[in-house]
Amino acid sequence: MTDGRKLLRRRELLRGAALGSSALVLGGCDAMNENATFRSALRGAERLNQLTHRSLADRATLAPEFALSDISPLFKTNGSLTGTSTEYLAHLQTSFADWRLRIDGMVANPMDIGLDGLRAMPARTQITRHDCVEGWSAIAQWHGTPLRLLLQQAQLSPRAKYIVFHCADNYGARPYYESIDLIDAFHPQTILAWGMNGEALPVKYGAPVRLRVERQLGYKQAKYVMRIEATDDLSKFHGGKGGYWEDVGDYEWYAGI
């Protein structure tokens, strides 16, 4: 056998070994992926990432804001394109004239506030980037009421830890909802947006109001918000993980990456 042929046979053997071991490794990875202990170990990194982000930035550090010229010509629509509840569809018929946002749960002063009421409050306008967990980004200008003003008006209980956003859209068969902690709830850029790019918030982007929480990913930006509930325990809502995609797709509750 010539050296060349020997080398070829050796290469074939090595190739076979490489393919075989890669199949083994992949099978192993899939098995580990299904293993509850391993998954919870990986999940430890989520907490580590949140702690790191919070220690590197002040609680009020702003997400980057952009110029009018940076706005995406077409902002990709995603998730639900309209609210689906009967109540929502009725409000849609009357252009949300009688729509009221409910704020309750662990607050001393539960309240209902309409679109005019929200617009009458001090507003914030910000041009920010929306980042989907899938990897794409789009930039838009948002106009809205800072969440912290609403929570102050409703007199948030000192025992509350999270703010839950109940939405009017069913995605698949389940109602959409999201939640954030109080650091993000009181962040200056966290607003309930009722306007987008100088106009009333269009239905496909979440009318009448949607949440903007600018240091986190797109699935936290709940659309069609109907009710805001303060709580100290996320486990009692729906799947218990604090949000629709957290429950359904096992996505991270803390979506800072």
Partner: protein, 279 residues
Amino acid sequence: MEAAPEIAKQVVKRHALSTRIWHWLNALVVAILLMSGLMIFNAHPHLYWGDFGSREDYAWLQIDDTRTTGFIRIGNNSFETTGVLGLSLDAKENVRRVAFPGWATIPTGYDLAAARRWHFAFAWIFALGLTAFMFMSLVNGHIRKDLHVRRAEWSPRALWTDIKNHARLRFGDDNDSSHYNIMQKFSYIGVIFLLFPLLILTGITMSPAMNAAWPWLLDIFGGRQSARSLHFIAAALLTLFVVVHLIMVLLSGPINGIWSMITGRHVTKSKPEIAGDLA
């Protein structure tokens, strides 16, 4: 009968313990990061330049399918890649319309949430491991003694000789294996001090929370979507390095090479002509 000139085998100490531990740990971690990264890419197989980019915008790179064929488009050039990119068969021979096939991703099936968990957990091990390795290599002299490109090695003549040696597949046992050759130094320096830090920094730049904490990262890389493109390009270059690295190991004496990366000891042959000179 005259005795044949004996080829003296000499064992040299080649790799420090910190180098060996990091090498194998990093090999595993990089494989996991590359494969989970490809699954994350599958969630949106388009790349853009600038701050924003979605299906509404022009992508400079796209891996997609026409339902019957898979393709990759780079700028205006499309290449059919049916069976591998865009459209492929899974282990059960089902047609899957994904950018990278299941055999290249972790997990093998489409699962963005799981791939993100793998990627972000192992990214910590990668970054901390790299930092520890750099620190140890500074302390034990690995950078100064082994990776540092000496003045003489920068000369066009030395570079040309090294290129010719590579073209003739003359490295490893034929040469003095107690030190790295010039091309080897360039590639190791490029990966350790350019590619790895670039991967970490462009990765961090994709985090909206880190954009608030360290907005200068966006300025360095020209926006989040540019950072995403650079992250992918750097990962592709790293894959190229791994392929070339493995080929070089195979060509330069795989057993001795792998053994030395495990035990630290490398067997070299002193050349017969030297033995002759001594006689």
